[in-house]
Amino acid sequence: MMRGVSKRIGSIKFSSLSPDEIRKMSATKVITADTYDDDGFPIDMGLMDPHLGVIEPGLRCKTCGNKVDECPGHFGHIDLAMPVIHVGLVKEIKKLLQSTCKTCGHLLMTKEEALRKAQEWADMDDLGGDAIDYRLLAKGTAKDASKNTTCPYCGQEQGKITLDKPTTFREDGHKLTPKEVRERLERIPDEDLPPLGIDPNSCRPEWMVLTALAVPPVTVRPSITLESGDRSEDDLTHKLVDVLRINQRLRENRDAGAPQLIVEDLWELLQYHVTTYFDNQTSGIPPARHRSGRPLKTLVQRLKGKEGRFRSNLSGKRVNFSARTVISPDPSLSINEVGVPEEAARELTVPVHVTKANIEFLRAMVKGGSNPPNVDGRYVPGVNYVIRTDGRRMKVTDRNAESIAEGLEVGYIVERHLMDKDVVLFNRQPSLHRMSMMAHTVRVMPWKTFRFNLCVCPPYNADFDGDEMNLHVLQSDEARAEAMILMRVQEHILSPRFGGPVIGAIHDHITGTFLLTHQDPKFDKQETLSILSKVKYDTLPEPVVVDGREYWTGHQLFSTILPEDFHITFKASICRNCPSCKKEDCDLDAYVKIRKGKLLTGTIDEKAIGSFKGKILDKITRDYGADASREFLDDVTRLAIGAIMVRGFTTGIDDEDIPEEATRQINEVLSDAIRKVSEFVQAYREGILEQLPGRSLDETLEVEVMKVLGRARDEAGQIAGRHLGMENSAVIMARSGARGSMLNLSQMAGCIGQQAVRGERLSRGYWNRTLPHFKKGDLGAEAKGFVQNSYKSGLTPTEFFFHSMGGREGLVDTAVRTSRSGYMQRRLISALEDLKLKQDGTVRNTADIIVQLKYGEDGVDPSRSVQGDAVDVDDILSEVLGDDAEALARIEEKKLAGYATIEKDLMETMEEEEVEEPEYDTGGGGGED
C-alpha cells in the first residue's frame, strides 16, 4: 500500500503526433470496419482487435499480456487513403498558408522584418508574456506577413487564401485539396515556424493534415453487452467504423481509377467523418447522429464542458467512503459533532493498522463480525474487511469472523466501522465557501438522518425541510490530523469574509435566551434546575430571596455560562435607537452590560449570540479561543432550550389578532390612500399634475402614487404594530431577531401593500389593463396591484392574482441569480486560486509574480481581524491602563464624544437621503428549499 506521496510529476509537455509516430506506437493497423465475427469474437485488424487492450474480464491483452484493469490499452491506427485536414487546426493552417510562400514555403517577410519580429519575441521572453501575449504576437506576425503579396525570396505572386468553413481552402477561388495544402505546409522551413508560434520540434505543419489516424484503445471506448446479449458500441467506435468504411471505398475507387468526381465526393465524405470524429459540433456541418437520432459524443465533446472529462472527471472525482442522507436537528449534540445513523456507520469504514498496542482490541472487534448486535442498546462497531500484509482483502462475515480474528497479525489493516469520535468531513452543496465543508466528530445514533447542532446551520446554509448532506470518512492519519486542526467546526466560528461569527444561535435559541433574560425574570428552584440541568456549572449562584422563597434571576442563569472575567457593553437587537440613550435604565432592557462574567443589565438576543451578529460570541472566540467558544455555544444551546421549555413558546394565527378598532383605522387609512391615488390620477388626466424635475408626467404619477400607497402600507403596519406588544410571541421573534420581521407581521395583521414587478406597479396582462375586472386605462390603486387585505383577512381573487405575479418575479429572480452568481464565483475562483501568501508577506501567484507586496496592505488575516481592524485598540488600552482608571475614563470620554459626532453625522445623512421610493413587496417569502 502506498503511503504518502513519494513522487511528483514535474511537468507535462504537449506536442503533436507525427504520422510516423502514430504508426510506430500503433499495436495494430485497423483495416476492417467490422468489429466482431459471428461467434462474437473480435476480428483481427478490426476496431475491437485484441491487440488494442482488453475490456472483458478473464481475457488477456495480446500486446502486453495483462488482464483487465492492468492493461492500459494500446493505440492502433488507420492509414487514410487520402490526406484530410484536422478540424481543430484549420485556423492555424489558414494562418500558415497565408503567411508563407506558395512555392518556396518561406515566411513572406524580408530578412529585416523577420529579424525585427524575432526581436519582439525575444523582448516578450524578457518581459515574461503569457499565453495570450504570445498568441497575439504570432497572430501579428502572420498578419504582417500575409500583407506581402509577393515572396521576397522567390518573387512569386501570392494568391488570396480563403477558408470555406469548416475545412475547405480556396486560393483565389480555386479549391485546394488537402493534398495540395499538405504539400505547401511541408515546404515551410523549420526556422520560419517559431515566429508564427509553432515549435517545429513539437509539431511540423504538415502533421496538421492527417495521413494516419490514431485509433484509441478499446479501454477508451468500451462496448457494453446488453441483457439481451446484443452489443452496444461506443460512439467513438461508431464513428471509426464510418471512417474505415469510407476510407476503404475511397481507396478502392481511387485504385480502380474511378472518375475524379466520385473520388472527390468520397474524399469529402472521408473529410466529413474525420471532422465529426474529432468534433461533432463543428459549425457549418450537420452533426453525425446515432441511429436513434441522438448526436454522437465524439472526442471534443468528451473533453469539453461541465460534463466533460476535465471538469467532471479530472477536476472532481467520485469517492468511496462517503454517505448522503437527510439532515435533522439535535440540540443535544455539540457543534463539533455530527449524528451518523448506525446503518451508515456500518458501511463507512476507517482503516486501522494493527500494532502491538491495539491488536487485542481489534481482534475483539473482528470477532464481532461485520454486524455485531447492539449491547444494551448501544452501538458496537464491527469490521467489514481485513487486509493482510500481502495486500489481500478479506471480507469479514459471520462465518469467518472467528478465524480471521485468530489470524490477525501486526501489520494487517482492519477496516472497522465508524465509531464515536472518528473524524469525518461534512458538506452541503452548493459549497460556496470553505465553511460548506467542515470536519465533525462522529456520534453514531439510531434512526436514519444525519444530525447536528442548529448553530451550524448558517455556515452550511442548511435547513431541515428535506435538505440532504454528504459525509466523507477520512482514510489516513495525515488527513485526520489536518482536518482536526484546520477544518473542525470550532475553528470556523469566525468567518474570513467579515471577521465575525458565522456559527451562532438561530431561531429558538435566540427566543430562548430572550425569554431567559428579558426584563430579568425570576425562576424558582425547580425551574432553575430544569433550565440548568444540561449545562455544566459548579455551584448554583446565590439565590434571591423574596417572601422567604428562593429565586434565581434570568441574568444569573445566563451568567453561569460566561467566562469569569468577561467584559462587554453593547446595545441589543431590541434597541430602538432612542435619540438619547438611557443606558442601564433602558425601558426596553436593551442595554447589555456584562462585567466580570456577570450579566448586569440587558437582554440577550440576536446581537449577543446570533450568527453573523453575535457580539458576545465574537469576543469570546477572539479572547478565549475556539475551545471556549465551542463550549459557550454548546451551553447557549442547552440553556436556551431549557429556558424556552420552562416558559413554553408558541405562535399561531391569533398572534396577529388586532382589535376591531384597529382594523377600522387601517381601513380608513387605506381608503384614504386610495382616494388620494384617484385624486392624483384625476389631476394627471386633467393635466394639472405638477411634473417632478427630470421625470415625465407618467413617471411623476407613478412616483406619487407609489409614495402614497407605500406610506399607507407603513401606516397600516404601524397601527397593527401598536396593538401587538412585547408579550406577543410573533413580536418577540421579530424583535429579538429570532425569525421574521415587523414587516412580515404588518403584512399579516395590517396590509400587504403594493405588488411590484420590475420595481413598477403591475401593468401588463390585457390591453391597457391588468385584468378584465377593471376598466381599460384604469390607473387606480386596486387596478394596478395594490393589495389592501392582510394575509390574515385573506385576499380577493384579483389581489391573489396580483400577489402571485409579484411572487413569480421573486422565483424567477432567484433562479436567474443562482446561475449568474455561480458563474461569477467560478470565474473568480479560477482567476484567484493560485494566489498564496508567501513567507515574506507578499501575495504571489504560482508563476511567482507579485500581486500584493503586503497582503491587504497590513498582512492581517480577515478572520482574525477585529471587524476589519488589525487590532482592537480600545481593548489594549483598557487592558494596559486597567489600573489607571482615571486615564481610562478620559479616553472613554473622548471616544464617546467621537462616537456621538459620528452618529450625529450618520443620522443627518440618513435624514437627507430619506428613502424616496417606497419599498415594494416583490413576492412573498415563499419557496423554501
Binding site: 510529476i9 511537468s11 503569457d130 475562483i829 484567484l832 491602563l881
Partner: protein, 491 residues
C-alpha cells in the same frame, strides 16, 4: 497595392516623389520608415538633409495624427490647460503619531498606520506616561503579529469565496436610485459582475461632480456648472417648426429654458453655424408676431425636400451645450451644505477640464474611464470603491482585503484585466488549468502546436494530475526525526 498606398501617403506628408521612391525600395510602411534611423535612410542613397527632413516630417505627421485623434474625442472645445497639483487625501501626521512612530522605531516594532492613527487619537491630550505608552505599543504589536495571516494561506481562494458567496444573496433587480431619485444606477449582482468583467462602459455610467470649495455652497454657480456639462440639444430648449412652403426651419427658443441654461439665442446661431450641414444658412430674426421674441431661421439654399429634411434633422440633433455622454445633471444638497452634481452618463476627461470643478473629489463609476484618464492606480482604487459600495449597499459585509486582492490582481500588469477567459484565467501559464476552465479543445490543440510545457505549479493542474496542490499544507513538508532512544544512542 500596398506600395502605391505608402507612396501616396508619403507624398501627402510632404516627402518628395524621388525620395519616396528610394525609400520604398527598402521599406514597406510609413511606420517602418519613421522608426528607422537617419543612417538607414542615408544608406539608401539619400542625402543626410533629405533623410533628416523625411524623418522629421514623418515623426511630426505621426504626432499630428495623434493630436487629431485626441481632438476627435473632444470636439467641444480645445483642451484647456489644467494645472496639476499634488493632492494628499490622507490625514496629516499628528505630533502624537510622530511620537508613537518614534517609540515604535526605538522598540523595533511595527504597526499598521491605521492602528497608529487610532492610538494617536485616543492618547492625544491624555498625559499617560511614556512607559505606559510603550507598554501599549508592545501589546498592540504583539496582537498585530498574532493577527497576521499565516504563510502559505490561499489568500486568493479566500477572497474569491468571500466575494462569490454573498453573490447568491444579492438582488438581481438592476435599478436603484443613487442618492438622487432621477438617476438610476445598476446595483446588486449585475453591477458586481460588471466590475469583475472590467467592461469598457458600465450599463449605467454615472458621475459625482464636486465643486471647488469657494463655490460649492453657491447654488447658482453650481447650477451653471451643471448646465455647462449637461448635454443640451436644440430640441430640449426650443420648439422646431418646419415651414415647407418657404423651405425653412424655424426655431422658437423657449426663453425661460434658455435663461435656466444660460444660453443666448446668439449662441444657438453660433453653434448651428458650426454644423457643416447648416453652415451659412442660419439667421437670427425677430418674431413677426411678437417683436419681443427672437427666432432662429435655418433656410435651405436649394429647393429640395430631401435637403430640408436633412436640415430639420441636423437642427434637432445639434448639441447646443454640454459634454458628450452627460445625459442629465442634477444638483443635490449635501448635509454639510455643499451642492454636488450627479450626472447620468459619464465623461471624466472633459468634466475634469471644466472650471470650478473640484478635480480631487469628482469621480465616475466607469472604471475604464478612470483608467484612461487617471491611470492604473486610480483604476485599482476605483474597483475597490465600486465593489465595496455595491456589496455594502446590499447590506453585505465583506472585508476590504478581499476586494483589494481582486482589484490588485485585475490591475497587476498595468492595465485593467477582466476576471474570466479573456482576462486573468485565459492568461494562466498552465495549459491544463486553462483547458479545465473554458474552451478546452482549443487550448489543448494550441499547446500541442507550440510545444507548451505545463510545469504543474498551480492548483487546478495539480488536482488534475492527482497530486497535492502547492498551497497551504501542500506547500510544506513535515519532517519528523524521532529522538533516538537512550538505549540505541548508547550503542
Amino acid at each position: 497595392m500596398a506600395r502605391k498606398d505608402t507612396f501616396n501617403a508619403l507624398q501627402k506628408r510632404g516627402v518628395e516623389a524621388a525620395v519616396a521612391d528610394k525609400l520604398l525600395q527598402k521599406f514597406t510602411s510609413i511606420a517602418d520608415i519613421a522608426s528607422a534611423s537617419a543612417a538607414d535612410l542615408v544608406s539608401l542613397g539619400l542625402t543626410e538633409e533629405q533623410a533628416a527632413d523625411t524623418l522629421a516630417k514623418l515623426g511630426k505627421s505621426k504626432k499630428d495624427s495623434g493630436k487629431k485623434a485626441a481632438k476627435k474625442e473632444a470636439p467641444a472645445e480645445p483642451a484647456k490647460r489644467i494645472e496639476f497639483h499634488r493632492v494628499v487625501k490622507a490625514k496629516p501626521v499628528t505630533e502624537m503619531e510622530i511620537r508613537l512612530n518614534g517609540m515604535l522605531d526605538e522598540l523595533g516594532l511595527e504597526l499598521p498606520r491605521r492602528v497608529v492613527v487610532t492610538l494617536g487619537e485616543r492618547l492625544e491630550g491624555t498625559d499617560i506616561s511614556e512607559a505606559k505608552i510603550k507598554e501599549i505599543l508592545k501589546k498592540a504589536a504583539e496582537k498585530y503579529e498574532l493577527h497576521k495571516m499565516d504563510a502559505n494561506e490561499s489568500a486568493g481562494i479566500l477572497a474569491a469565496q468571500s466575494i462569490g458567496e454573498p453573490g447568491t444573496q444579492m438582488t438581481m433587480r438592476t435599478f436603484h436610485y443613487a442618492g438622487v431619485a432621477e438617476i438610476n444606477v445598476t446595483l446588486g449582482l449585475p453591477r458586481l459582475i460588471e466590475i469583475v468583467d472590467a467592461r469598457r462602459v458600465p450599463s449605467t455610467p454615472m458621475m459625482t461632480v464636486y465643486i471647488q470649495p469657494e463655490y460649492r455652497e453657491n447654488v447658482d454657480e453650481v447650477r451653471r456648472v451643471a448646465s455647462r456639462i449637461e448635454k443640451t440639444t436644440l430640441l430640449d430648449i426650443a420648439d422646431i417648426e418646419t415651414d415647407i412652403v418657404n423651405m425653412k426651419v424655424i426655431v422658437h427658443p423657449d426663453m425661460s429654458k434658455l435663461e435656466q441654461k444660460g444660453i443666448t439665442p446668439e449662441q444657438i446661431v453660433e453653434k448651428l453655424n458650426k454644423d457643416r450641414r447648416l453652415r451659412g444658412q442660419v439667421a437670427l430674426v425677430t418674431d413677426e408676431d411678437d417683436p419681443s421674441r427672437k427666432q432662429v431661421v435655418v433656410s435651405s439654399d436649394e429647393p429640395s425636400f430631401k435637403k430640408l429634411q436633412g436640415i430639420v434633422q441636423a437642427t434637432r440633433d445639434s448639441v447646443i451645450q454640454g459634454l458628450d455622454g452627460i445625459e442629465r445633471a442634477i444638483l443635490r444638497k449635501q448635509p454639510n451644505g455643499e451642492y454636488v452634481i450627479y450626472t447620468a452618463g459619464s465623461n471624466l476627461r472633459e468634466v475634469l477640464a471644466e472650471d470650478k470643478v473640484d478635480r480631487t473629489r469628482t469621480t465616475t463609476n466607469s472604471i475604464q474611464e478612470i483608467y484612461d484618464v487617471l491611470g492604473v492606480e486610480a483604476a485599482r482604487n476605483s474597483i475597490i470603491n465600486e465593489a465595496s459600495r455595491t456589496l455594502e449597499e446590499q447590506g453585505l459585509t465583506v472585508d476590504i482585503r478581499h476586494i483589494m486582492l481582486v482589484a490588485d490582481l485585475m490591475t497587476n500588469d498595468g492595465d485593467v484585466k477582466a476576471i474570466g477567459r479573456h482576462g486573468i484565467s485565459g492568461r494562466k501559464s498552465s495549459v491544463l488549468a486553462r483547458a479545465a476552465f473554458e474552451i478546452t479543445a482549443t487550448h489543448l490543440l494550441h499547446a500541442a502546436l507550440t510545444g507548451e510545457t505545463d510545469d504543474l505549479d498551480g492548483v487546478a493542474e495539480n488536482i488534475i494530475v492527482g497530486q497535492p496542490v502547492t498551497l497551504g499544507t501542500g506547500a510544506v513538508n513535515l519532517v519528523y526525526e524521532p529522538k533516538k532512544r537512550p538505549k540505541e544512542a548508547s550503542q
